[in-house]
């Protein structure tokens, strides 16, 4: 009993108090800041090396819906044209806005990355339950989504939770590039959630196929048929990115 009290005492209070303003280690590779003016003519080292084919040239841009945040482009560029900063909030309601171009600052990106809708706030602003569907990724995204509910991040305090049954859910969070073998189950789960419902694609794999995009074993028809309401980049997305992106989407301001 004494040990138990001692343990509780040592454990202390572990939750991050202010989730929207929490900062990450300077090492974290979050938002890419691009300055094309530093590029040398015809250099294409970054796009050659990118494992996710996320970089386009002329004009230089990085698609953070494909990016695995490996940092290799920053390392290989000798001119400082690409720099990943530790700002992690990269969710967007619009797939196109995930393509980051030269001189786009993080603040500018954030200004209209997430378009709020009145009815979303009205329906889900105070309680939002998700059915998570894991479909052929590497389990990295799943571990970070699970971490959202642990003592450190405690997403439940905002009324947001993952639930077991799609019947109890208000939406689906998809991770992984969706294998042929998981495509039917994903569609079943989606169809089992009652209207109105929202769909979130979390992680590079779900958003674009990620590192597995070229595989013959995928079936991404779901994304042709169903509109995604919120994209949350990362490989995997940090729990703070997930929680804050969802909060920005469902909250009034």
């Amino acid at each position: 009993m004494l040990d138990l009290i001692k343990l509780r005492n040592r454990h202390g209070y572990q939750s991050i108090r202010d989730i929207p303003n929490a900062k990450l280690s300077g090492m974290h590779r979050g938002f890419p800041v691009i300055d094309e003016s530093k590029c040398m003519d015809d250099c294409q080292k970054c796009s050659d090396i990118c494992p996710a084919s996320a970089i386009s040239l002329k004009p230089l841009s990085i698609d953070i819906g494909k990016c695995t945040f490996c940092g290799e482009c920053e390392r290989v560029c000798g001119y400082g044209s690409v720099k990943f900063i530790n700002e992690y909030k990269s969710g967007s309601t619009d797939r196109e806005k995930l393509i980051i171009t030269s001189n786009k600052s993080f603040e500018e990106f954030r200004k209209d990355a997430i378009i709020k809708r009145k009815e979303i706030h009205k329906l889900f602003g105070r309680s939002l339950k998700f059915r998570q569907v894991s479909a052929a990724g590497c389990n990295g995204c799943e571990m970070e989504l699970a971490a959202c509910s642990n003592v450190n991040f405690d997403m439940g305090r905002f009324g947001i939770d993952f639930v077991a049954s799609p019947r109890h859910a208000d939406g689906v969070v998809i991770t992984g590039p969706v294998s042929k073998n998981m495509a039917p189950a994903l569609m079943d789960a989606f169809n089992s959630v009652n209207e109105p419902k929202i769909v979130i694609a979390a992680g590079a794999c779900a958003i674009s196929g990620g590192i597995f995009a070229e595989s013959d074993e995928l079936n991404r028809k779901f994304f042709d048929e169903i509109k995604i309401d919120l994209y949350i980049p990362g490989c995997p997305p940090h729990p703070l990115n997930f929680i804050n992106s969802v909060l920005d989407f469902i909250r009034k301001k």
């Binding site: 974290h28 990724g137 590497c138 642990n150 042929k180 595989s215």
Partner: protein, 495 residues
């Protein structure tokens, strides 16, 4: 037995690997295993249009590996090894699925990754084992599970609460990883990133096995400093997952203090990993020829103080967890795997060590910095959930000690040495002790020195069957607990 003798990470020339008649290969595999060797790999590859089956056996006591092969002509079948060596069952099924050669007499010739879920009319539907009898019933779970975890299908045949039989259907996470390796053979950076995503909870384990295999085939040197830092990263990965699993095991028996405390400790470790390389799971640090991120002396002292404090915290938390009667009541004598069974089915990793098998690749087939010091192999005997949980705790403390010692040994050295081109017509077997157990990557090159085959084995490949056996005769409600005590990888198995 004239098999090619080699060792972990020592590449061999393909032409030196003996080709035996399949009957002979089969007999020699069976003899080898009956004499204490272990089946590490068993897979096919096409060379000049002909199919070749490779088998790799390990002699763990003498740190040797043995490789032999057999060439197939028009034969469409061979005599199955599984009836004599159950540990071969999944390897043979995989070989059949990938190349269509039937192991005759295989007692359980079911799909591994394809032909599941009835997704295509050309595929034969998965045929579940069926128990009949009055009051027999089935419980089906998945592919989508209750929690935020990977997909897979479990089917329990029960009588009342009691499980008689569990069948596990895999393949839902199949995303064609081995093919992606070969298709992108000329993009070594992509391949390194891909190896990080074989199993996202074993980033360092799998990426490490891959880059070392590439270094061996390219005869690429790496500095002592890089080896030490890789070793530290691998041990951090082990500590993090073990803490996470102790948290989850506590949660499964509704022991909330353990759930919170171990969970928070895990966060401290993965945040340390992030402080080193910018990613909580160690993504980005591994590269062919060394590492991408260094540990500065400031970071070094931070890591030391975090680990020292964590060691005390974990001691206290374990003391409380493992002395709670209600926890022990659930953990002890639940999901027992006897040593004999464990040996027979070829179990690996901490789960095997919890059943009394003394096998640890860090000590038996050392790699990276494990070549320079001794890793003591720790075993427990009871083979139950308790042993698998307690093993996690012992290994956490052991890994903390390893890291603290190795931090003191850090000496100056290149972070990354230039990578050379690969040896043509070569093969390398790269073994590593991930937190789940033995990881085995095999890479084969063609005559131009390009990658032509990558075979990956996650330890889960061996251990899933152990889970199926562990729940027999237990209540359905003990399944989550048994499952978590192994915490096996779906994506690592499905590839």
């Amino acid at each position: 037995m004239n098999w090619t003798e080699t060792k972990n990470l020592k590449s061999v020339s393909l032409e030196d690997i003996p080709q035996l008649h399949m009957n002979e290969l089969r007999t020699q595999i069976i003899d080898g295993i009956k004499n204490g060797r272990r089946l590490v790999q068993f897979f096919g590859d096409k060379k000049d249009g002909r199919l070749i089956l490779y088998a790799v056996l390990a002699d763990d006591l003498t740190s040797r590996l043995f490789i032999a092969s057999s060439k197939f002509g028009n034969e469409k079948e061979y005599q199955s090894i599984t009836p004599e060596i159950p540990a071969a069952h999944l390897f043979e099924r995989e070989f059949y699925e990938q190349f269509g050669i039937e192991p005759k007499g295989h007692p359980w010739l079911k799909p591994v990754r394809k032909g599941i879920a009835g997704i295509s009319s050309e595929e034969i539907p998965y045929n579940f084992f069926n128990m009949t009898g009055e009051e027999m019933h089935e419980v089906g779970v998945g592919p989508i599970h209750a929690g935020v975890i990977e997909p897979g299908h479990f089917r329990f045949s029960c009588h009342g609460e009691k499980v008689y039989y569990l069948e596990i259907e895999h393949g839902f996470q199949h995303r064609g990883i081995e093919d992606l390796f070969v298709k992108n053979y000329n993009k070594s950076l992509y391949l390194t990133k891909l190896s990080e995503s074989v199993a996202g909870d074993t980033v360092i384990g799998h990426a490490g096995a891959f880059v070392r295999a590439m270094e061996s085939l390219g005869n690429t040197a790496i500095s002592r400093r890089a080896q030490l830092i890789r070793t530290i990263m691998l041990e951090l990965e082990r500590i993090a997952v073990h803490l996470g699993d102790l948290s989850a095991l506590s949660g499964d028996v509704a022991y909330l203090t353990g759930n919170s405390v171990f969970g928070a400790l895990r966060t401290k470790i993965i945040n340390t990993t992030m402080a080193i390389c910018g990613n909580r799971f160690g993504r980005g640090i591994m590269t062919i020829g060394g590492i991408n991120y260094d540990i500065s002396s400031k970071l070094e002292s931070e890591i030391k103080s975090i680990l020292n404090r964590l060691s005390d915290d974990a001691d206290l938390a374990a003391e409380v967890l493992f002395s709670s009667a209600s926890v022990l009541e659930r953990f002890e004598q639940t999901g027992v795997i006897e040593k004999e069974t464990a040996l027979e089915i070829g179990m690996v990793g901490p789960a095997a060590r919890s059943s009394g098998i003394s096998l640890d690749i860090r000590s038996d087939h050392p790699f990276d910095a494990y070549q320079y010091f001794t890793v003591h192999k720790l075993t427990l005997e009871s083979g139950d959930v308790f042993a698998r949980a307690y093993m996690r705790f012992i290994e956490i403390q052991h890994s903390i000690r390893i890291i603290l010692e190795q931090l003191a040994n850090l000496q100056d050295g290149e972070l990354k040495c230039p990578a050379n081109s690969l040896q043509p017509d070569g093969m390398v077997v790269s073994l590593a002790e991930g937190w789940r157990g033995e990881i085995a990557h095999v890479i084969i090159t063609n005559s131009s020195g390009n990658i032509k085959r990558v075979k990956i084995k996650d330890p889960s490949f061996h251990n899933w069957f152990a889970l199926a056996l562990a729940v027999r005769e237990e209540g359905v409600s003990d399944f989550p607990l048994c499952n978590k005590s192994f915490n096996l990888s779906y994506c690592g198995t499905d590839l």
